[in-house]
Amino acid sequence: MRKSILPALLVAFGALAFAQSNVIKIATVSPLSGEQAALGEMIKLGAQLAVEEAQPEFEKLGFRLELAPQDDQANPDVGVAVARRLVTDPDVLAVVGHLNTGVAIPSSEVYKDYQLPMVSPANTGPAVTDRCYLNIDRLVGRDDVQGPAGAEFAVKTLGAKRIFVVHDKTTYGQGVAEQFKIKAEELGAKVVAFVGTEEKSNFQALILQMKASRPDFVYFGGIYNQGAVLLKQMRERGIKATFMGPDGLDSSKFVEIAGDAAKGAYYTTVAGPIDQYPKAKAMAEKFKQRFGKVPESFAIYGYDSANVVIAALKSFIEQAKRKPTRAELSMLIRQTQISGVTGDVAFDYKGDRKTADYFVVHLAEAKYPGEVAKVISFPAPASVCKSIR
């Protein structure tokens, strides 16, 4: 019998040591170092601005609101390790992140075990919300809309006939490229090649394949660091096909790296350029004042994501006069509606934004951001979920 008392005692002992604090932390998890830091940093700074703006209000309510920025290095293993650290900190009530779908999926499995709400400012992979988790919401559109939207623009508006599809062999890049390919073929264009590559410097082998298959359109599913170099080398070798990519190219770095080659390229994005949002102007000025940088697309999505969490927190605290549990907050976030800088934010049954905007951006000059060629407001695809877990 003695044996059974000892562990129970220890548990009780530990529980006593655990005290409720009045600190509320919102964590951001995005790549802050390495190849995709330029995108991840924007998410962090956007959320930081939102948190800093809300701090005085929470002070009045008797709580200290803090930002806990984390670096997932765009690597799923690091992402999961960060997630496991976050869930053990009882002050962390919500996560704004990640950047990469391939990181978000395994990490959110951890959040789900602890009902920690995650609001995604950037993950476009359908699987993020199609798993029907209560605690996962996203502000951006989905690849199964973004890819086809790009394909439709490419085939119908630009008249692409022979399309060469390249992707970067990541969950995100391959996923969106596949969606693009399916729709493009459906619309009658011929996809002459569908190749993945991890190469980062020398794309000559691919370019030679392009020379052989003579595409009039090249779609690259991936991030700017590869896409820009590919585009530059394509133009150097005289491939004149129109170039298009998904929101991974939506960074000033894309234009910086590709240089003049960026001229004439298209990208689709789920986070529209700031000038698309009338409300974003004030935010952009504040952002610039605070961080000395011009906010890029993901910054305003980071900002809105944090604001959704903040709104839910505030309404709970005002009613209940206490900190919500993570499960309570998850439930509340799903029902929260705010009028954010990216438009009205509301989530559907499975956590997708009810109506998300998709933009096709044209880089008429080698200057970021380009001109919006087309805006498509598209409701989230019908729910595949029978129930929410």
Binding site: L10, P69, N75, R85, T88, G102, E109
Partner: protein, 425 residues
């Protein structure tokens, strides 16, 4: 004699006291890094100091089986840490056979980890439906234990396949070829989503079945402790890993003292002399390779079940290097060294470096200012790039270089090794 006995008694008392004190500190502050490290230090102390075997077992058992699990209830990160240490320790023990005993530098060790992980991931998820004629997948969690054994076999076979060409080569070439073959396995995992979708490529495989824990929860219910599944899994994996480490360590010790162990060491010391003594080189080396690989394969299956997600990105060169660093740090050829190395590197990597980064981030966001009159510094200006957690390669590289220069035999050297490493001094 009497003096010695009294010294030992004092020592025993001291370490027991430290262990109890640190244990209680950890229980009262389960999220603290310091009490955790102190607890582990007392565990290490109990192991290294010349005290009675019974006391060692008592302290070790109390810390590993009671204190850490109890503290883990409030901070499940401890379990995560414990499981990761365990996984790496088993792999370090496996690599220790290859690098430490047989003296074969294997830079593609993560490949076997990948083979093990994919063995369970493919059949423990819907993935296998993509290419198997019968659509009965995912297999229920009970099959996990069977597949852990299969993972051992699969990894050992991979070890033979990789080893057969690679082991004909000498030292340096072997290193670079294993590095290459390790990369080949990763690239294959990344690309075998077509023409037949076996690994699901870069998308990775998720969700993966976990072994059922209902019986485990039932046992705890017997003692009046209520567990839900989210709590039970970390605890379960923790105990599972402890058990596996025990088995792996035993196997290692037996191997070390067996005919094969002596043959490996003979090859390590002098290949030509070993051959002259009648040791068949290639089969003996292959055996070492396959043995090391099989440990890694088992842990791979466990990793897949624990992580619920497997993707090629988990099996890069840096993974192999990290395991190598563990072996080097602890001492090539030394069994306690490999475990210590694994614990040190894992804690450094997932806890200490991250804590240090968070501390710096805290300083940064608080805008704390040092003012020494002549020297004024506002921490808000601290560059955000200055985060120890980002520079793991630098830390591990430095460990490797420094260890090789100053203590090539490792922290807990294998006794035979000391002589060799320092022979010409």
């Amino acid at each position: 004699m009497k003096n010695l006995a009294r010294n030992q008694l004092l020592l025993s008392l001291a370490i027991a006291l430290v262990a109890v004190a640190s244990g209680f500190w950890l229980l009262s502050d389960p999220r603290g890094t310091l009490p955790f490290l102190l607890t582990l230090a007392s565990l290490l102390g109990a192991f290294l100091l010349p005290i009675s075997k019974w006391l060692k077992v008592l302290i070790g058992g109390a810390i590993l089986l009671i204190v850490v699990p109890a503290a883990g209830f409030q901070n499940s990160f401890l379990f995560e840490l414990g499981v990761q240490i365990g996984i790496y320790a088993a792999m370090a023990l496996g690599l220790n056979v290859v690098v430490g005993l047989a003296g074969l530098l294997d830079l593609g060790y993560a490949a076997f980890f990948a083979v093990g992980a994919y063995t369970w991931a493919i059949f423990g998820s819907k993935q296998a439906n993509e290419f198997m004629p019968v659509k009965i997948f995912p297999l229920p969690g009970e099959y996990f234990y069977l597949f852990m054994l299969l993972a051992v076999v699969a990894a050992a076979i991979t070890g033979l396949i990789i080893g057969l060409p690679a082991l004909r080569l000498k030292g340096d070439y072997l290193a670079i070829v294993t590095l290459g073959l390790g990369e080949v396995v990763r690239v294959l995992a990344n690309n075998l989503d077509q023409p037949i979708n076996i690994t699901n490529g870069p998308q990775g495989i998720t969700p993966i079945q976990r072994p059922p824990v209902d019986w485990f929860i039932a046992i705890f219910n017997q003692f009046g402790i209520q567990l839900d599944k989210a709590q039970a899994y970390p605890l379960f994996f923790y105990f599972l890993v402890l058990g596996i480490i025990g088995i792996v360590t035993l196997v290692n010790i037996r191997l070390d003292h067996s005919r094969f162990g002596r043959a490996w060491i003979a090859i390590r010391e002098d290949e030509i002399a070993a051959r002259a003594m009648g040791i068949p080189l290639l089969p003996t080396k292959l055996l070492a390779f396959a043995t090391g690989a099989s440990f890694s394969g088992a842990m791979g299956a466990l990793f897949a079940a624990k992580q619920l997600y497997v993707s090629p990105e988990s099996f890069t060169l840096i993974q192999s290097i990290i395991i190598l660093v563990m072996v080097i740090l602890g001492g090539m050829g030394s069994i306690p060294g490999a475990i210590l190395g694994a614990a040190t590197v894992t804690i450094l990597n997932v806890d200490v470096l991250k804590t240090a980064s968070e501390y710096l981030e805290g300083l940064r966001s608080s805008g704390f200012t040092i003012n020494l009159g002549f020297f004024k510094y506002n921490f808000a200006n601290l560059p955000t790039q200055l985060e120890p957690a980002k520079y793991e390669r630098m830390v591990f590289g430095l460990i490797m270089v420094l260890m090789m220069i100053y203590r090539p035999e490792g922290i807990i050297p294998e006794k035979r090794r000391v002589l060799e490493m320092r022979e010409s001094e």
